[in-house]
Symmetry: C2
Subunit: 281 residues, 2 copies
Amino acid sequence: MTTHIYCGDQRIDALDPGDRGLAYGDGVFETMLVHRGDAVWWSAHVARLALGCERLGIRLPDVGWLRIEVDAMAAGCARSVLKLIVTRGAGVRGYAATPDAPPTTVLALTGVPGPAPTDGLIVRWCDAALALQPRLAGVKHLNRLEQVLARAEWSDASVHEGLQCDTSGRVVGATSANLFVLRGGRWLTPAVVDCGIAGVCRAWMLSDVANSAEALLTRADVESADAMILCNSVRGILPVATLGERRWSPHPRTIALRQQLGEAEPAFAVADTLHDAAEDA
Amino acid sequence: MTTHIYCGDQRIDALDPGDRGLAYGDGVFETMLVHRGDAVWWSAHVARLALGCERLGIRLPDVGWLRIEVDAMAAGCARSVLKLIVTRGAGVRGYAATPDAPPTTVLALTGVPGPAPTDGLIVRWCDAALALQPRLAGVKHLNRLEQVLARAEWSDASVHEGLQCDTSGRVVGATSANLFVLRGGRWLTPAVVDCGIAGVCRAWMLSDVANSAEALLTRADVESADAMILCNSVRGILPVATLGERRWSPHPRTIALRQQLGEAEPAFAVADTLHDAAEDA
């Protein structure tokens, strides 16, 4: 793992233990695929980062500077995962932010997850529900205990992902991926209004895939779907084979979807995978 | 500021940038008053820390060891604030925890907040509401964006604290303190069932003060109360003088309450204060 830490645009040796990212989860993150030295979907990741910072009132690092640092780190990498964290920076004790404190940026380059199961993902329902908090919905912020609790519900390595509902019972997504189900010929994904993360691959689906849309989904809607996929920025689109008692055979529409993604983004044309313990939505 | 960082029971020089406390807010914290070299209400803080770790499935540091480290840091301090963070430790990328990873502990000693206003606190309502999440209610965990958003709603230094409701409209507390209102001769505080922090001073009130109890409270209940106080482990009990249009004169019951606390805990017999930017509930 290679890690760079910055205070504003200055490299620093270590994270300040008073950083508000640690104290309060006061920051946002992005996880992206690096393919042949390039950060895949960079523009979409930066746009979401900027929106998250704006929603939280965190100063956005200079995007031109950030691109240079990311490119330097990604240079020469055949295939890796790059995690980018931006926090409100170090502060004195207390919730009030220090005005004009420079943001903290952490860049960490790690290996890609192992290969995806060729037969599709084995997925389960989680008990840990997501609270309804419109102020934070969509933002990929650092307050992720609800996902941590969900992921702690299973240790069976044969289970690849867990699905979470919100506290009102509506389906939200997987702990580290967005979900789409095929119903009535349309690819449907939960709206990101009360909770959930607005994933970059999800955004690609909604903008570039015909007959894809947001919808309210119950557990029954998901379980009775014609097909189901999970998607995120690192693994692209992966078919789900099993959800509890439900089994799905590979669906022609899923195969076509993966093909369309591979044509749009060559990084996903190679065998892509979904790590069972990632947070890449 | 003096800061010590530990991986398990070993001092380390710097926080691992892959620490789950930063990545996910995957940890808990305590903020306590140090008075004449002693951590005030130590047993209560450790008990809450242990309960929080148990609720989140985080390994609790050895309590005997922790006491020794805290005592060493507090030794010779006339009056300070000690912040203690325990996280699930460093991990690989992804929500799944590394089994048997030692917890990270951070101890930070800082100065006490400035003197409390002699006339009582000036308090306002905040728009940022707290989501209903029973799985995390009561725990002083590191996912604190809701408090950060609330505290960002004002910059007027004459306003000392902000009150938050939950998303269903019930009153929860101040951003960094619990609240009690005097109604019908009783000191009432919101129950910590769906959100909020179970403060140590709040617990003292509920166990040691006659006619104190949990209750559902609306904004109207708070505004029409006979008296109102905020309490936390660093400032003890502070009267509220102003909430929006509402003004309260010092109430004999509030004066008696502060006297009772000072007799029970000598650290609070001296002039205590409530910093407008603390997180000490």
